[in-house]
Amino acid sequence: MMMKKSWKKALTLLVVSSLTALALVGCGSSSSTDNKTTSDTGTKKTDTVSSATLDAIKKRDKLIAGVKFDTNLFGLKDPATGKVNGFDIDIAKALAKDILGDENKIEFKEVTSKTRIPMLDKGDIDVIIATMTINEERKKQVNFSDVYFKAGQSLLVKQGSPIKTVDDLKGKKVLAVKGATSVKNVKEKSPGVEVLEFDNYAEAFTALKSGKGDALTTDNAILMGMSQQDSSYVLTGGLFTDEPYGIASKHGEDEFTKYLNTFLKKINDNGDYAKIYKQWFKEDPKK
C-alpha cells in the first residue's frame, strides 16, 4: 500500500517534470529562432538604421562600460578609494568624453571573462572594454572594434621555476580563467598539460600563490600586472599567441562599431592613445 502510493507519487513527479522540461525546451526553441531572425534582420538593416546603442547612451547621458575589477594595469578596483583604474578604464573614459563630452559621464560595471558576453547581450552594459581578445568564435556573438591593444599569451611562474617555455608544461598544472581563450591555446601548444580553471583572475592568482599550480597562463599584459603586484612571480616563455584586444558591443550594431573605430583612429591621431598607453605601460605603443 505504502509502496504503491510512493510509486504513484514518483510517477506523477516524473511525468510532470518531463512536461515542464518539454515546455522549457519549447520556449527555448522558439525564442532562439526568434533571436536568430532578429539578429539577421539587424545586420541587413544596418545601412538605414542609426545606432540604437549610441542613442541609448546619449539619452541616458552616461556610458556604461563592462570592465575588469581585479586585473592590475587594465582594470583594478582600489579598495582605498573605491575607484577602478587601468588602461581599459582610461580608454573607456576617453570614449565617454568622445560621445558625451565629459569623461566622468561613465559608470563601470564589473565583468569577468565568463560574464561579459551575457551582460552585453542583456543590455547591462553598452561596451566591453575588458582585455577581450578578438576571435572568430566571439565575432558570432558580439561586434568588435579594431584592435586597441596587442597582447600575446604568456606564462607567469614563481621566480626560479624550471618552466622556461610552453614546452616545459607537459605533465604540469597550469591555472587559467573560465571563459578565456587561453585555456584552448595552452592545450593546443602543450598537449598533456593539466589545466585548472577559476572564476576570475583574483582567484586564479591567489591559487598560484598558494601553490595550486606550476604556472598561470593568460595574456602577457595581465600577467605583467600580477608580476607588478608581487615581484616574486615573473613572466616566462615569451609570447606564444597573438591576442588582439577589441572593444565589444552588441552584435549587429554595425553603426556603433563604425563609431568606435572612428573614435580609436581619432585618439590614435591626436596622441591621447599614446599618452594613456605610456601612463600604464611606461613605454610608447608598438606600431
Binding site: 560595471k109 564589473e110 547581450d121 583574483a202 591567489t206
Partner: protein, 218 residues
C-alpha cells in the same frame, strides 16, 4: 599572515560596502522567498488539481538542484530564453528567491499539514469560509511550528549569498577576494573577517529565533 596590513581603514570600509550588498541581496531574497514560498504552500494545501501537481514538480525540481546551478542559470540562460533583462544583483535575488521559496514552501506546507484536519472541518461547519479558516485557525497555529525551521532557512539564505561571487557581484566575499588578491598574507585575515561577520549576523539571528520560540511556547 598580516592582520595589520589587511585591516586598514580603507579595506575595512570596502568590506562594509560589500556587507551592504550582501544584506541588500539577503533582505530582498528573504522577503520574496517567504512571500512566494507561502503562496506555493497554500496553493498546494488547497489541492487544486493540475496546479497542485505542477507546483509539486517545480518545488521538487528546484529543491533537488544545486543553488550554484540555479544562479548560473538565472544569470546566463534565462535572459537568453525569455526576454528578461536582469542586472546581476537582480539575477542573484531572483535565483536565491526561487531556490529558497521552494525550500520555504515545504516548511510552510509541513506546518499547515501539522494542524489536524478536524479543526478545519470544525471551523468550516461553524460557518467560517475557507480563507477565514486558513487565516484565523490554521495559519496562527502553523506559524508557531514554522518559526525555528524558517529562521534556519533564512540563515542558510544569508550564507548562500556568498555564491553570487561567481557572477562577480561585489558582496562581502568578493570584496574579501579583491583585497586578498593583492597580497598572499591577506588571504587568511580577510577570510577570517568575512567568516566572523557572517557568524555574528547569523548567530544573533538564531538567538532571536530561540527567544521567539520560547515565547510562542508559553
Amino acid at each position: 599572515m598580516d592582520f595589520a596590513g589587511a585591516f586598514t581603514a580603507a579595506n575595512l570600509k570596502y568590506m562594509m560596502q560589500g556587507l551592504g550588498v550582501t544584506l541588500e541581496i539577503a533582505i530582498w531574497s528573504i522577503a520574496l522567498s517567504f512571500l512566494f514560498g507561502t503562496l506555493i504552500a497554500i496553493l498546494r494545501y488547497a489541492r487544486i488539481p493540475v496546479l497542485s501537481q505542477v507546483l509539486m514538480a517545480f518545488v521538487e525540481m528546484i529543491r533537488n538542484l544545486p543553488l550554484l546551478l540555479i544562479i548560473f542559470f538565472t544569470f546566463f540562460a534565462i535572459p537568453e530564453v525569455m526576454n528578461l533583462n536582469l542586472t546581476p544583483i537582480q539575477a542573484a535575488i531572483a535565483a536565491l528567491s526561487i531556490f529558497e521559496a521552494a525550500m520555504i514552501s515545504e516548511i510552510v506546507r509541513a506546518g499547515l499539514n501539522s494542524i489536524p484536519k478536524g479543526q478545519v472541518e470544525a471551523a468550516r461547519s461553524s460557518g467560517l469560509g475557507y480563507v477565514q479558516t486558513l487565516r484565523h485557525i490554521v495559519l496562527p497555529q502553523a506559524l508557531r511550528k514554522m518559526v525555528p525551521p524558517l529562521v534556519s532557512q533564512f540563515i542558510s539564505l544569508i550564507k548562500d549569498t556568498t555564491l553570487t561571487t561567481v557572477i562577480a557581484i561585489e558582496e562581502l566575499l568578493r570584496s574579501a577576494q579583491i583585497v586578498y588578491s593583492q597580497k598572499q598574507d591577506y588571504v587568511f585575515p580577510m577570510l577570517i573577517l568575512a567568516a566572523l561577520t557572517f557568524f555574528v549576523i547569523n548567530y544573533a539571528l538564531s538567538l532571536v529565533a530561540g527567544r521567539l520560540e520560547r515565547r510562542f511556547q508559553v
